[in-house]
Symmetry: C2
């Protein structure tokens, strides 16, 4: 199936437009794509006419061209008729917004079977039913909620696939925006009658050049699809992340493991995924942290190169003792290690800071430079730590409250990091007045988080990706040598 026509259509048609109700889903999708997106969009309406200057066509076969994609926003029985039209007219892709299929059981289930039959026989890439569809900036957006009401994430490297449309638009879009995580394509798969997680993994991994991180928010694998999914993940050059949301993870995974013919216990599934080089965050927040750090470091111009390699050996730099302790205490839980400084290194560190703080600062790991810190103390320490090979990553807890920290501190750190190329993750409080500092760091591709926990999680995410990448490389050598 040609998923490219689904996600990068040159033209699309919309059915289910209301002339009376300006908020009908079909009409919102029509106007949104006409006025906000790049795709050429046609509206279908039985009597023709026009809406806000857009000419409407009476039937699909009256369109001046065969569209790549049909967005269907009508009741379930009419939907099936439109899918038949796709078959007859060779329309290669469709998004079905409405419900009334397998999710209601009974006759809905039969409808879905018929839908699947037509789609597979005619090779139509059908997304849904019962879904929000696709948001693939700047090309297409089939989300029927008014743009001004939702929050759109920026463009980036993450293909985001969600079984729940509500969670996609609310939890993910809002938090992606807050954290500046960019999507290549966001997909709401709904009932996943035809296009499912396996096809999507294949497409984003092997076809789509914009995607380097593929994230799934699933309640469970589709029946019979787990094995193929794992094989695809194992071969993928992209980073594959799976998070089981919805019901308690244990319960959900146990349920689906049965249908997916894997042993029915969470630990086993977890290990199976782990062995197939899939990254599994432990919470939604950790999922967001992973995606932020992977997305930011996917930029070609990031100073650390394609893959940041870390086995978890960190140095923590703070200007507040309390924050240093909190971060330090979290390291173990996340499999990280604060490397020890030798006496000589401690003396050197001490010599690098202003005389006021030499006796009150702490030069163990964590390093606490105290509230009397100056910009150049932070610079000197970061520069020195960057040259220590045993430190793989720096965690900088940058509270801008001490009176002598200037608002140039972000770009001053960015300058050092850009030349030294030592991976660094920062914590800066999420307060709008500090956006100058935050932006100067992130412009240099230095990830900034707004809680200590997320900063620690971010390094753990890099460590986990290092593990996965190493396994993939080993696997590649092994395959070549056999």
């Amino acid at each position: 199936m040609d998923l490219e026509r689904l996600f990068k259509p040159k033209s699309m048609a919309v059915v289910g437009i209301s002339k009376k109700n300006p908020l009908s889903p079909g009409r919102i999708v029509l106007l949104k794509n006409e006025f906000e997106m790049n795709v050429k969009v046609y509206g279908i309406y039985p009597n023709g006419g026009n809406i806000e200057g857009i000419k409407l066509y009476e039937r699909l076969d009256k369109l001046p061209e065969i569209p790549d994609l049909l967005v269907i926003a009508v009741g379930p029985d009419d939907t099936l008729n439109y899918i038949k039209d796709c078959a007859n007219l060779n329309i290669p892709a469709a998004v079905i917004i409405g419900g009334g299929f397998a999710e209601i059981g009974g006759k809905g289930k039969k409808r879905q079977e018929e839908l699947e039959k037509i789609a597979f026989e005619n090779d139509i890439a059908v997304l849904g039913p019962n879904c929000l569809g696709v948001y693939a900036p700047p090309i297409v957006d089939t989300i029927f909620l008014p743009t001004e009401r939702i929050t759109r994430p920026p463009k980036g490297s993450v293909a985001l696939i969600s079984q729940s449309g509500g969670v996609l638009v609310d939890q993910f879009f809002v938090k992606f925006n807050e954290r500046h995580i960019g999507v290549s394509t966001a997909v709401s798969i709904g009932n996943r009658a035809v296009v499912d997680e396996e096809m999507l993994l294949e497409y984003f991994s092997q076809v789509d050049p914009e995607t380097t991180n593929i994230a799934f928010y699933l309640e469970g694998f589709k029946e019979g699809k787990a094995r193929k999914f794992l094989q695809l993940a194992k071969k993928s050059e992209d980073t594959v992340i799976v998070f089981f949301g919805g019901k308690t993870r244990e319960g959900k995974v146990a349920t689906q493991s049965h249908t997916a013919s894997l042993a029915g216990d969470f630990k086993i599934i977890y290990n199976a995924l782990r062995q197939h080089y899939i990254i599994q965050p432990h919470s939604e927040r950790e999922l967001l942290t992973c995606l932020k750090v992977y997305d930011l470091l996917s930029h070609k111009r990031n100073p650390f190169g394609k893959n940041v390699i870390t086995y978890g050996n960190v140095a923590i730099v703070s200007v507040s003792g309390g924050h240093a302790v909190l971060a330090s205490d979290m390291l173990k839980k996340y499999g990280l290690n604060a490397i020890r400084f030798s006496q000589q290194e401690k003396r050197k560190l001490k010599s690098l800071v202003n005389s006021t703080i030499q006796d009150i600062a702490s030069f163990n790991n964590p390093i606490d430079l105290t509230g009397s810190v100056l910009d150049r103390d932070i610079e000197n320490i970061i520069r020195y730590l960057s040259d220590l090979d045993k430190i793989e990553c720096i965690i900088l807890l940058l509270l801008p409250y001490p009176p002598n920290i200037s608002f140039q501190i972000g770009s001053r750190i960015a300058n050092i990091i850009t030349s030294k190329k030592k991976p660094i993750v920062c914590f800066v409080p999420y307060v709008s007045k500090y956006s100058l500092i935050i932006e100067s760091l992130e412009l240099a591709y230095i990830p900034v988080f707004h809680s200590i926990k997320e900063a620690v999680q971010a390094v753990s995410a890099l460590k986990e990706r290092t593990r996965v990448d190493n396994l993939k490389i080993k696997n590649l050598f092994w395959e070549r040598s056999t």
Copy 2:
């Protein structure tokens, strides 16, 4: 000791002012209180003179009055001399900002012993050393960080006592502001040489009329103080909340339990606190949730009266199926229960919504009104649920994405709740464009949270307070009858 002079001084003096360095702690405290706070403030400087129009006095004994409070921002040895001055001049309270005491061991420990001796012999309420001191709006603020750099929480009912100054100013002030949690007084206790958690609990519980919620962020109890603290908590009419932060809770509590003469295992401490009617959140986020809901419902005009009583029987109302499931799945973990509707009640609920959604909405608990919901559907459902006695609290997951939800929805719900007085907790996404909805709800004292988890935690916090209040009442009867 007279803590009122510490937290509500009519006059204060500051020592440790630099004429050269505009960012010296003493100078920041002087200017901050002169220009931003209500207290009468005097500066002490050996040669007199003035700073920004504020006359400086050469010595404490040259001041036109004996100040209520002395803020000391000098080195540790000079600090001791100033404490002696307090004794000689009968200054009843002091804040010691600087360190160099017990926290550095050795001679620092001796200094602290001397400090304690003078303070206790002369009845001086000394806060610190090694602390940020007091923020008691609108009277006094001894936090030596520039006001424009930090975030100040609004005025409210919470006395917030923190062992870590950094955590107080960063974690708490920032998040209190974000969540609109108000403080009566915020206290950084530092080394708590003299004024400690027990004295503070006594003061806020028995003296301060503005405080109705007393929250402690401790690493552990001060040696020998746990038992008295527990007795005070048991008798307190205020809600007492304790959270052990810093190192892993288990480890910390185990350590301090020894010194506090309680058995050295977390479970035992936890139960001891629970038996003494202290609320113990499980995470910092849950702590914030508790404080937000307790603070908002401490307002005299809140429609639910002084104490919201709930044993955890809730109804969930959502406009997104995914969100409904997420909330529903969390109930059990937080000890809550989604009450079951009878067939008759379900029929009634169905009859209350517009015909478009009658067949697609779900009228189990959670109720899912779908994206085709209208304002008046939500109103009708809330009104009906308010009249059902078996529902103690409503959890409303209010995503404003569906196109027909208006921006009046907040005040429309507030109107119903104000007349029906049924406790309700809302989730609304944390996106600035929805502030109109959020503000209309919170103006009516309806707590709004920005994650589903926090909305569920909030009801759990009310249930826990109900348990504690019931125990306190029982205890009172028991004491009276014996």
